[in-house]
């Protein structure tokens, strides 16, 4: 089962010049209702289905202590009833109509993803519009769902050593900004959210002016727009949600987390503060993440897994987040592996990059991977809707999808060296280790 909550979306890009005819900017029809709801429509008739994605610009970055995890909780409660659609009915009606769905919450956005037969469009639009304004938060249902979340947290974090370490490292590296806590929230907050606070949060962020609606698939644009106007048009816009004002202060020196637990194998991770998605440094950092950590030919896989055989796997890299977050290197060490040596190897590899940057072939490799990943995701209507939704919410406009590849292609080795030297510093770094009880630091 996938991790409960997404930490930074995986967005893929291609330049306009590289795109095939199947996915062109001009085919994506943009509309905005008077109440502020943004609408992206892409007709595509290969299968008799529609991907209907509703994204809200709210995630754990909008929370505060005491209400951590509430964005994700509201995601769950959105399936649990309104005056028109009693608890459980949303899913029952949707499945009866042949549809399925999921929903996910990240630090920056909450997304509702419906995969439906074309004939179910009107019913789904009606229900999506209904829960945008009228979710009930029935007390009894709320208490039951609270325990579902507690179970999700126990499964996703408390019974998983890597996740325990991640949560601790994240909370240590980030001191002030709401990225301090995991999207799932602290257990005491999960058990403590009050109903009135939850509703106030919902009323603040669930409004047409804070959402984007995306349809890809087998529909006619005019008819779809007519239905959207019918169901979403009457919803009043809300006040502009408050800005996230806290800025993470610069880190003053290296930090360390050390955890001892009942474990068969240790866990290791290192993180550095990294730039926000709008920062020009975010592209060089993404390239670095891929060269260091992606695939068996990546630098750290070769050093740690193959050559020195200190680890069984490595993963991580940069996240695309609205505010500055972390560049992460996760390592699954072998039992008994020298964790100090793992850290030293990572530092050696970073030092090389800070001095010499990357080979041209490594940068080209990243461009090839970005392009093939992009096309791979465009094979499905759901993949197209996902790319549109994630780019729209991360960048504030899906159009960025069509220019980003050019920016990737324009990154020079000098920019790579500059970014590596700026971000991969000791003062910017937090290292976490989790070792079996009785093990050494």
């Amino acid at each position: 089962m996938k991790k409960a909550v997404a930490a930074g979306a995986v967005i893929l890009f291609a330049g306009a010049a590289l795109l095939s005819a199947s996915f062109r900017k001009e085919d994506i029809k943009v509309h905005r209702l008077d109440n502020g709801l943004k609408i992206l429509l892409l007709e595509h008739h290969t299968i008799p289905n529609i991907a209907l994605y509703t994204y809200y610009r709210v995630g754990s970055r909008n929370e505060r202590p005491g209400l951590t995890g509430v964005s994700h909780f509201i995601e769950h409660m959105m399936f649990n009833g309104s005056p028109k659609v009693p608890p459980g009915e949303f899913d029952r009606r949707m499945e009866f109509a042949g549809g399925s769905n999921n929903a996910s919450t990240s630090q920056d956005r909450t997304g509702y993803t419906d995969w439906i037969p074309a004939a179910a469009l009107e019913e789904m639009l009606e229900m999506e519009a209904d829960r945008m304004q009228d979710a009930t938060f029935d007390s009894e249902v709320l208490e039951s769902e609270r325990q579902v979340i507690a179970s999700e947290r126990r499964m996703g974090v408390d019974n998983d050593n890597d996740a325990i370490l991640s949560e601790n490292v994240q909370a240590t590296a980030i001191m002030a900004h709401p990225y301090h806590w995991d999207v799932i929230g602290w257990m005491s907050d999960i058990q403590g959210w009050r109903r009135d606070e939850i509703i106030a949060y919902y009323k603040t962020y669930y409004a047409p002016n804070n959402a984007v609606l995306i349809l890809v698939g087998d529909f006619a644009e005019a008819r779809a727009l007519e239905l959207i106007r019918k169901y979403f048009g009457p919803i009043p816009s809300g006040p502009t949600p408050p800005a996230v004002v806290t800025v993470e202060p610069p880190q003053m020196g290296p930090k360390r987390v050390f955890i001892q637990r009942d474990a068969q194998v240790p866990s290791f991770q290192a993180v550095w503060h990294a730039p926000a998605v709008h920062d020009p440094g975010s592209i060089p950092m993404d390239i670095l993440g891929r060269v260091l950590l992606r695939g068996e030919s990546s630098r750290l896989y070769r050093r740690l897994v193959r050559q020195e055989q200190l680890a069984s796997s490595v993963f991580g890299g940069a996240s695309r987040t609205i505010d500055p977050y972390l560049f992460a290197v996760h390592v699954k060490p072998k039992p008994g592996a020298d964790l100090a040596r793992i850290e030293a190897v990572i530092e050696e590899e970073l030092a090389k990059i800070k001095k010499e940057g990357l080979a041209d072939s490594e940068i080209q490799k990243v461009l090839n991977a970005v392009r093939s990943d992009f096309y791979r995701s465009l094979q499905t209507i759901a993949g197209k809707a996902y790319q549109l939704a994630e780019t729209e919410t991360a960048y504030g406009g899906f159009e960025r999808m069509f220019t980003l590849m050019d920016d990737y292609a324009a990154v020079t080795n000098a920019k790579i060296i500059e970014a590596a030297n700026q971000y991969f510093t000791d003062d910017n770094k937090t290292v976490g280790t989790l070792v079996p009880e009785g093990g050494r630091k």
């Binding site: 089962m1 299968i47 289905n49 769950h76 109509a97 408390d158 068996e296 093939s372 791979r376």
Partner: protein, 462 residues
């Protein structure tokens, strides 16, 4: 995340049993290409994206052929194939494929091994070349073998840190015993220690060859070019017949076999219940799918409704049907906090009894039929999904109209037929149930379900 992922993964993994086509959607019939050495490749041109997907099934190279002492050798052999040729080392292969943004690998299923490659069309000649070179002439270097063995041993060890993963391993052994379908793809501590690179080489020589291999190529590539490339890469591959031994009959549980694995630091208890399912192509497949969708195959299923939606006992509860050529497996699984495991299993047994006894309402059955049909078209949307479908249907002789027939069966499944499927496939008295959790907090709650065998998670093996 709301929790549907388990269901989505399920439909991808057992797609032959999973779903059925919407009214306006059919799997396109591919063209049959025959290579110089007789390998059959089903081909379909698509132009949605400039990419191609290639699959090749190698008969007999799966885990069902493994001797018990060499559990995991099929998976290990498959894994080692892409680790280089005499002319190109493992790192050079990884570098070349990563450089092109390509995905290529070999994996072992129960009956066959499968080569899979996916890349941009412009890179396909190079990617096919590399993959075919690895397949025809793998180096099987001692050093690469040791690295892979080491990683597997570590993964087995670390799986015990995660009760959700550990329960699957314990279940396989508890249900299948020494039957090859219960083999861990990774091997076990015992088998890995004994295995050598020479054993892997021998296994490859015996079971890998072009005889009986079936392929599929789907994507943005012309037929003429495809045939030239495939013949150049694979048409000259020679080999003897591959020995295929019949899979022994599947174990059939008699009575309740109960296993409790004590993991003293677990805050939740994880369980899997298993019982015999149905075979691939069994005529009950559509009715079984309608039934399982209602029992535990979607979000509003009985299991999910009673355990998650109504009581908040868990984040997810589901059931699945895994068909094999001979027989199949029905599984139900979930988890809850330690103090609730007794309540959850009571619910499970109530629902198991109710399914066979009462069946489903006409409205439920209609909903399940709609759901399966509505969710079907996206399952065959990508090049890779179509290629998978072609090789699976051809390998198991199900015919390319299989989904049409399956869908027709779904569409006409009556409440009586769904009830009959439940009566046959939902276990009443004969099953295997494995629980991993903190024994001190759950042992007493479990007593009422029968006599439990107990193991400690720190005991060697599973």
């Amino acid at each position: 995340m709301k929790s549907r992922m388990s269901l989505l993964c399920l439909s991808a993994a057992v797609f032959l049993a999973a779903s059925a086509a919407g009214a306006a959607f059919k799997l396109p019939v591919p063209e049959k290409l025959t290579l110089k050495n007789g390998i059959v490749v089903y081909y379909l041109k698509t132009a949605e994206v400039p990419m191609v997907s290639f699959r090749l099934y190698l008969k007999g190279a799966g885990s069902a052929q493994e001797p018990s002492a060499f559990e995991g050798i099929a998976g290990m052999t498959a894994d080692q194939i892409m680790k280089g040729t005499p002319a190109m080392g493992a790192e050079a292969v990884a570098e070349a494929l990563d450089f092109l943004g390509a995905r290529a690998g070999v994996s072992a299923a129960d009956e066959y091994a499968s080569l899979s490659a996916e890349c941009l069309s412009e890179h396909f000649p190079r990617v096919l070349d590399i993959a075919a070179a690895c397949l025809k002439e793998p180096a099987f270097l001692e050093d690469e073998f040791k690295k892979a063995r080491d990683i597997r041993l570590n993964e087995l060890k670390s799986s015990k840190d995660n009760p959700g993963r550990a329960v699957r391993y314990y279940f396989l052994k508890a249900y299948f015993g020494t039957h090859p379908l219960g083999h861990f793809p990774s091997g076990t501590d015992e088998s890995l220690v004994k295995m050598t690179a020479a054993d892997v080489r021998d296994y490859y020589r015996t079971y890998y060859g072009p005889k009986g291999a079936i392929g599929a190529l789907v994507g943005d590539i012309e037929k003429k070019q495809a045939l030239v490339l495939l013949n150049a890469a694979l048409g000259g591959w020679k080999g003897a017949d591959v020995p295929v031994t019949a899979t022994p009959p599947l174990p059939e549980p008699r009575g309740a076999k109960l296993l409790l694995v004590d993991k003293p630091d677990a805050t939740q208890a994880y369980w899997i219940l298993g019982a015999p399912g149905h075979a691939l192509g069994d005529k009950i497949t559509p009715q079984a799918a309608v039934m399982n969708t209602l029992f535990g195959g979607r979000f509003t299923s009985w299991l999910s409704t009673e355990m998650r939606i109504k009581r908040g006992l868990t984040y997810g509860a589901n059931s699945s049907l895994q068909p094999y050529r001979i027989g199949g497996l029905f599984q139900a699984a979930s988890y809850t906090r330690n103090e609730k495991i007794g309540e959850m299993l009571d619910l499970l047994f109530d629902l198991l009894r109710k399914a066979g006894r009462d069946g489903f309402t006409p409205a439920e059955v209609e909903s399940s039929r709609n759901y399966i049909q509505g969710q079907f078209p996206p399952t065959l949307e990508t090049n890779g999904a179509k290629a998978n479908a072609y090789v699976q249907l051809a390998y198991f002789n199900l015919g390319f109209d299989y989904y049409d027939r399956y869908l027709a069966g779904v569409k006409t499944t009556s409440p009586e037929a769904a009830k009959a499927a439940a009566a046959r496939l939902i276990p009443a008295d004969d099953y295997v149930l494995v629980v991993v959790g903190k024994a001190d907090e759950i042992r007493d709650q479990l007593k009422k379900f029968g006599a439990w065998t107990e193991k400690k998670i720190s005991d060697p093996g599973f």
